[in-house]
Symmetry: C2
Amino acid sequence: MASIKDIAKKAGVSISTVSYALNGSPKVTDETCARILAIAKELNYVPNAAARSLKKKESKIIGAFLPDFSGGFYGDLLQGMKGTLIQKGYDLVVCSGPQSHRLLAEKLFDGALILDHTFSDEQLLNFAELGHRLVVLDRELKHPNINHVLLDNKAGASLAMEYLIDLGHRKIYVVTGPEGSYDSKQRMAAVRQTVERNSDVECIEISGDFNRTGGERAGKQIAAEFAGPVAVFCLNDEMAIGMYDYISETDLEMGKDIHIIGFDNIELSEYIRPRLATIDYSKKKWGSLASEQLIKIIEGKPVENERIYVTLVKAESVKPV
Amino acid sequence: MASIKDIAKKAGVSISTVSYALNGSPKVTDETCARILAIAKELNYVPNAAARSLKKKESKIIGAFLPDFSGGFYGDLLQGMKGTLIQKGYDLVVCSGPQSHRLLAEKLFDGALILDHTFSDEQLLNFAELGHRLVVLDRELKHPNINHVLLDNKAGASLAMEYLIDLGHRKIYVVTGPEGSYDSKQRMAAVRQTVERNSDVECIEISGDFNRTGGERAGKQIAAEFAGPVAVFCLNDEMAIGMYDYISETDLEMGKDIHIIGFDNIELSEYIRPRLATIDYSKKKWGSLASEQLIKIIEGKPVENERIYVTLVKAESVKPV
DNA sequence: TTGTACGCGTTATCAC
DNA sequence: GTGATAACGCGTACAA
C-alpha cells in the first residue's frame, strides 16, 4: 500500500507538501501539485482510513444497528438512510449482532442509527455519555447526544382496532411483541385504551415475539379455542404471516373465520391471499429522517424529536362480521 | 474518551505497563494487573479501533458488498456470513453503493465478500494487487488474493429448462439478467445448450434486468404476442414476481396460459399463488462457505474454488402442456 | 513555497 | 516486572 511517504520520496518533496497538494491547499505550486497528483494516481494512492480517523477524530462513516438481516423489513429503511447520508458526505455500514456492539464502542463511526432491542437503554446512555452520537428508532431516551425518531405507534394501533370494531368485530385477539419492546408497549397501550372506550369488546392478549413462530403459536391457540368468527390484531406483519401459515393448514379460513390485521405493511403482506390488512408508513422516510437528525447532532445543530405518521391499509383479510 | 494514557496516569505506571496488563501479558504482577484493570473499567476504557488497526494493520472486520439492501434475497446470505465470521473472531459490516467502495480502498477491512456487479473486474483485480483479500460470489477472477464461491448456474438452468421440456412445453421464453451479469451469462449458456439438444423447442430470449420491472416488461411483451400456452424461464425470481404482477392484470392465467419458473427461491416465491417453481440453493451455506474461504486467504491457508449446488423446486406455476 | 516536528492511541522492542 | 521510546500514516502549526 502506497503511503504519503512513498509519494514524497518519488516526487522528491517532503510529506507535508504531498499532504498539502492532496488536500488542495493553495500553499503549493500548481505545477508541483499536478506532479504530485499524477504520482499519487500512478501509485494507486488511497489515504489510510485508520490513520485519518485517528488524527481527525472522525471517520465519515455512520453505523446502522439492526437485530438481524432477515426479512423484507429493513430494505427500504436502509435505502432511506443511505440516500440522505451519502448526500451529506457520509457512508453507511450496517451491523448486526451483539458482537458488533464493539464497533460502536471503539468509535469506528461518527454516529449510529439504532433499531436494535439487543442494546439496553443503559448501554446506549453510557455510549452517549462517552460522546457517541446516536439516533434511536425503537425507544425514547433523554440525552443531549441522543435523538429519537419514532413511529406513531398509538395512532397505528388505534386505527387497526377501530377498523376491526367498525366492521362489527367484538371478540378480538391481540398478539403482542416480545417483552420489553417499546413498539409493542406503545401499541398495547393504545389497544387497551380503545378497548376501554368500547365496553362491548372482548380483548384477549396473547404474547408473541414479532417473529413468524410467535404468530404460528398464537394461531394454534386461537384455532384450539375457536368457537365462531374472531378478529386478530397481530402487532406486526411478520407474526400475521406466521398465523396465515398455521391457519392455512387447518379447516379455518382467513377473512371468514379469522379476520386478521397486521402492522408494518411489509412486502409479503401485499402478495399473500387474502391480502393482509395492515398499518402502513414510509420506511424510507423513516430512515431518511433519522439520518438527517443524526447529522444535525454531529454538526451541533438543534434537533427535535420527530414522529413518523401511519395509515390504515384495508384489505380482504378483514371482512365485516 | 479515556485512553491508555489516562489509565497510566491514574495508576501511576507507564503506558507500556498498562498495555501489557490489558493484553494479559504474564510479565506484570497480578496485583498491578488487577489494579490497572479496575481503573480501566472505572474509566470506561475501550481500545480505539483506528489506533489499533493503524498499528496492527488489521481490523478484525470483514466487509460484505451488495448492490442494494432490498428484497428478501440477502437476508439468509448475510446470516450465513455472520455466523461463521463471528466464530472466527471477525465482525461483519454490510456496505452498498458506489460511495462505499471507498471503505474497501482505505483498508478499513481485513477482507471483503463481493456480490456486487457495480464493481468492475479491473477494480477488484486492482484491489487484490494492492493486497486486499477478496472472495467474489458473482464472477470468476484469477488472482492469489481472490477466491470465488459460485452457484452451479449451469446445473440450475439446465434443471429448469428440462423441467419445462419434460412437461411438454415447446415454446419457451427466457428472460435474461442485465448485460454483463456473470450469473445471467452462465445460465444463458446452459439454456442454449439445452435448446440445442432439443431441436423441437422454440426458445425466445427477452432481455431483463433481474428486477421486478424487467419481469413486468417481459410479461407485457409475452401477453402481446400471446397465441396459446407458453412457458417462461425467468432467470431470477424477482423478475418472475414482476411478471406475475403484470399477468394478474390481464386475462391470462398463471400455470395455465403462462407457465413460469424462476431462479433463487426467494421467500416471496413460496407465498405467491400459484406457488412459483424455481431453482433452490442454500443462501446461508453460500455465505458461510464464502466467509470460510476468505478467512483462509487472510490466514494464508490454501483454498479451493467452491461451488454451491442447486435443486429444482416443482410447483403449480408450471403444469403439463 | 517547502520542510521540520509533533501529536493522534496503540503496540512492540528494547533497556533497566 | 517495568518504563522509555519508536513506529504505524496522516494532518498541521510553525519555521525556513
